[in-house]
Symmetry: C2
């Protein structure tokens, strides 16, 4: 980015202008963005965001897995503790420009609005810090697992394990973060008494129901597997069909099976294979190895258990049928989760006081708020997404919806900041491991 | 390669030592080779071979698609015309070290043996030139179509079209050849009156039948397609299953279908998908595009016609079922071919005179000799391959079998060189387009 452009960006305080400016970082031909976690483009977005934070008077801290915190200090008079908001700046390859970025930039704009109210004497904060955070590798596109930075922060994932994750080229997260100078050793000034995340829905429920805002009460569970079929490289011409141990054939039977099972579930189970790696991947060599990234998602643990049992038996059956060995190399199990009911109630009350017709709803997609709420009270708010299209340059949310979300976020943050930090202790959530 | 090593290689005249030396160029951990066409490793192998040819007294010419010719000139007294032998130095990724390389190096050793006989007055050549050739991109691993250099030479493929072929990174063959300095403008001194290729079988027929040598009388046809399914990128989580247009699901249905059909054909049809490219290939994005490289092979045109008709209808059915668009981007059709019957008879007679029990047989794999024999009389000789394993580092042929093949090649070349060039004209093959 030219220096003049960056200086302009640092001065922006308008959400739409900021979204447009960040949409240029890693922009793709169809208007999406490619900002894979800890890539050069992610580094540019982080640099721009840090510069913005400092220019606007925030303190900045980067922790050991690259989570980026900007915070305002309301002084000792406000007591202790912190209220957090944020999301993530990384994206899918050619992903949407609102996914994650909206939550970070709306959080940044909301923090400015909150500070104005405090300075004008219209809000007396009872938590000392307001923190805007961008978590590392939410997407899970370049590094697995997804929700990586927020999971380390909440203690569900070991930092050293996260830093050892490797991308498709074998580059570790530690190496990638070091290359863009975001392998930090800092920490935010206090743990969150509350974490609030604002995000585009990535589904079409709000659009269909004609509601401007969603308050997420629970989340589907997900089971994610990296598995490999290993056969034998051979010539695709003379090798008799019955002698082939074709790893891509095995993979295909599994991919088709996952879709078939999910399609037959009447909407209760979602399943896909989004990534496949084939070796040697040459037109006239029988593939010797195929690595698949399989996802299964459902709203109940019993459904996930049944789906995983089916997957395991399908892998065995296909191994038997194709003569390929199989191995599950990595498994991540994200349980079905319920958000803090008090948070849902507070959000509902605040949003309704603004005259906005919110609805409580589920999320199927994972978000950093899910990782956070394993240890800290968290809220997740959705704005509508046109047609629910996501992880695509066609992702779109109208300006009016984005602004309403920001308005709601400001109101929720004010409500949380005005509440007493002791509230959380009476519910026994704060600091819970 | 160190300079000392190269000088050693130039001096080698023993086939086994030469095979071992070339097996080091692009060697892989399991003892295979990766020398993709016009890669740096292919460039090293070409450099080494050129140095060898010059050191041993051959003239060298490189044509506009990088075909590499080394030739001996027996002088005007021998008349006109040329006898060719050779194969290719490029390989599959982690392919076998004998595939192609054996035919080139055995051809080179055979040429030395023939020259000895001529010098000793034991052979009076009636063709002026003996040419050893290494054809560009036989494998079709990096560039499609396969048999590229030999097809340009025989006039079946346009040189400019061949040079415009692009690899997976978008690098054209012209660019790649220029980078290794093998985009030539030379030509061999005469067209072939005969072309003889010696190759490892890439099948287990000779091993099973206990024969040291095969004489190929005909070749299966092949139909090769690059086709693409295009769907829509979307989030693998919330997107309802029925709304997904998953290009990898479509690809999987086709891959499984191709194998199923070939498996059910009782050995009459071989079919595989060796290469697949998926976009964006991220674990939680529904794939928007999948490009497949499909091969169908059979011994009769009617079977190929039926298989292609099935493929076309399967693509349509899968498009309909998955909501993905489909497009066949490239199709190559190699017809069922019969080798020159005179060549088969000559080879049989010569080989039997050596006391070797040869058998006439078919080839399913394509070879440069097939491309040549569309225009010039060609012969294709096989030596056994252990278990028929090919396009794999496990490819293996025993030293004794390699030496018998060389012995047969020398004898065949002597027989052809001693024959009159006019022979071919009486059969109306020479120069036929």
């Amino acid at each position: 980015m030219p220096e003049s452009h960056r200086q302009d960006l640092e001065r922006l305080t308008d959400l739409q202008a900021m979204l447009a400016a960040f949409g240029e970082i890693g922009r793709t031909p169809k208007g999406g963005v490619t900002r894979l976690a800890a890539s050069a483009e992610d580094g540019q977005a982080r640099d721009a965001f840090c510069a913005w934070l400092r220019r606007q008077g925030f303190e900045v801290a980067v922790d050991r897995v690259g989570n980026l915190f900007g915070y305002l200090d309301f002084g000792e008079a406000a007591g202790s503790g912190a209220v957090y908001c944020g999301s993530h700046l990384d994206s899918q390859p050619d992903g949407g420009r609102f996914d994650g970025t909206y939550g970070v930039l709306a959080g940044a704009c909301a923090a400015l609005a909150v500070r104005e109210r405090v300075r004008a004497g219209r809000l007396r904060p009872r938590h000392r810090y307001l923190v805007v955070v961008s978590w590392t590798n939410e997407e899970g596109a370049r590094y697995q697992p997804s929700l990586l930075g927020s999971s380390v922060f909440s203690g569900a994932l070991d930092a050293s394990e996260a830093l050892e994750a490797r991308d498709g080229q074998g580059v570790s997260l530690a190496e990638a973060l070091r290359a863009i100078d975001y392998l930090g050793d800092g920490a935010p000034p206090a743990e969150p008494d509350w974490y609030v995340e604002l995000h585009v829905e990535q589904g079409a429920v709000l659009e269909r129901e004609g509601r401007p805002l969603g308050i997420v009460s629970h989340c589907w569970g997900a089971r994610k597997f990296r598995l490999r079929f290993s056969g034998q490289a051979d010539h695709t011409g003379p090798t008799p069909m019955a002698d082939r141990r074709d790893a891509l054939r095995a993979a295909s039977l599994l991919i088709a099976g996952v879709s078939e099972r999910a399609l037959a579930s009447d909407g209760c189970l979602h399943g896909s294979v989004g990534r496949i790696l084939v070796e040697p991947n040459s037109p006239n060599v029988v593939p010797r190895s195929a690595t698949l990234f399989v996802e299964l998602r459902a709203g109940e643990e019993s459904l996930l258990d049944a789906a995983e049992a089916w997957l395991t038996s399908a892998i065995d059956r296909i191994s038997e049928e194709t003569g390929c060995r199989s191995e599950i190399e990595m498994a991540t199990r994200r349980t079905v989760e319920t958000f803090d009911p008090d948070g849902v109630a507070i959000a509902k009350q605040v949003v309704e006081s603004l005259g906005l017709e919110a609805m409580t709803m589920a999320t199927i997609a994972g978000h950093d708020a899910l990782a956070l709420q394993r240890r800290f009270p968290a809220m997740l708010l959705f704005v509508p997404s046109a047609g629910g299209v996501s992880h695509s340059p066609a992702e779109f949310t109208a300006e009016q919806d984005l602004e309403r979300g920001l308005e709601a976020l400001v109101a929720v943050l004010c409500r949380l900041l005005a509440g007493r930090p002791e509230d959380r202790d009476s519910r026994g959530r704060g600091g819970e491991a």
